[in-house]
């Protein structure tokens, strides 16, 4: 099977892949941390998170820290599986490229 067949369009977008990679490393991650780490605008990041949330790959939790609103997200089991599959597909693609 061609390794590109293992790439999921929802996950493969590089910023969404970045969101999932960071979220997989933690119990939960805050919106502004992702914005800073991925160097995205709030609007762009929101759109990516909405796509991931609609696909069931992350869950969003809104709350307050004192008077400041905070948005946390955490990766779901489906998100972890999709991320692992994406990384495996990327590595397979590289391996195939190196063997050419």
């Amino acid at each position: 099977m061609n390794p590109t067949a293992g790439l999921d369009d929802t996950v493969h977008q590089r910023h969404r892949l970045g969101v999932l990679t960071i979220a997989a490393e933690a119990k939960r991650v805050e919106f502004s941390y992702l914005k800073s780490a991925l160097e995205l605008t709030a609007g762009n990041l929101s759109r990516h998170i909405t796509v991931l949330e609609q696909a069931g790959l992350v869950e969003v939790e809104k709350g307050y820290e004192g008077k400041r609103p905070k948005t946390w997200l955490h990766i779901t089991a489906a998100g972890r599986t999709a991320l692992a599959a994406e990384m495996a597909a990327l590595r397979a693609l590289l391996e195939r490229h190196d063997n050419l």
Partner: protein
């Protein structure tokens, strides 16, 4: 972020490393538990019993409940630590556990990325509760009644059955069995409560995924085994320092790990 697969994998790896470094917070639990271990020193003032033989008989019921099979001799020789030491450790370990869970939540609010502490919490609560309730009850009404030849296999089967639905059932069953066995050492060893710390910190090292944290937890665990088992091999500290050295050695390892972790965090900023 780049588009080619090699660059993308490298950047994702960098993102993961950065998130991991940012969420690390093990240095504070190390410092806290180092101080808690040092704080136990006054509770180990030698109370020699060999001459009178009356020590065990004079102990309150709580002592006998917590140590159903008595204690083994450690590097501190043939005296029984007081029930005050037991109470100190129970209160300190419980407060330490709550402080660590609070610390990781507080730190997450500051940096924006939270370390999962569920494994640490599960291991610590298991190791705190089992010696308090499980070991005395199992020892009195189960192992002593039916004999270990029957009680042990039944316990193993019960643990395997209880962990059968876990995601990684073999690893979970083996870990619970190991913790169950370790929990039975706690009442028997003179510094057995340090096993609770070692097991909890091992859980913390697993979720922290930090080499420094793992190395210091391994050193601490080795020191805990040493201070508890040295007496079996007739290894004793010089009399003048034994009370301080047996708590001091593991405490210094934790404090060193905490200081080094804190310095590394400052350098990574």
């Amino acid at each position: 972020m780049t588009g080619d697969p090699t660059g993308l994998l490298i950047e994702l790896s960098d993102l993961r490393k950065r998130a991991r470094i940012d969420r690390h917070g093990y240095w504070l639990p190390f410092l806290l538990f180092g101080l808690i271990t040092l704080g136990a020193t006054p509770f180990y003032v030698p109370e020699y019993c060999r001459k009178t033989g009356a020590c065990l008989a004079d102990k309150p019921w709580l002592y006998h409940w917590l140590h159903p099979d008595g204690r083994l001799n450690g590097p501190i020789g043939s005296y029984e630590p007081t029930v005050a030491a037991d109470i100190y450790w129970i209160v300190a370990l419980l407060c330490g556990y709550l402080a660590v869970v609070w610390w990781y939540r507080w730190r997450a609010a500051q940096v924006g990325v939270e370390t999962p502490t569920r494994l640490y919490a599960q291991v610590t609560i298991f190791m705190l509760v089992l010696p308090l309730v499980g070991v005395p009850v199992l020892s009195k009404v189960f192992f002593n009644q039916v004999g270990w030849q029957i009680a042990l296999p039944v316990t193993v089967v019960a643990i395997v059955a209880a962990t059968w639905t876990a995601r990684r059932r073999v690893v979970t069953a083996l870990a619970v069995l190991a913790l169950f066995g370790l929990a039975h050492f706690i009442p028997a060893y003179p510094y057995g409560q340090m096993f609770v710390l070692a097991a909890g910190l091992a859980g913390l090292a697993w979720v922290e995924r930090s080499k420094v944290c793992t190395v210091f937890v391994a050193l601490f665990a080795a020191a805990v085994v040493f201070v508890n088992e040295a007496g079996r091999f007739d290894l004793y500290w010089p009399y003048q320092v034994e009370q301080y050295a047996t708590t001091g050695l593991p405490a210094v390892i934790l404090l060193a790990g905490g200081i080094i972790g804190s310095v590394r965090r400052e350098m990574a900023r």
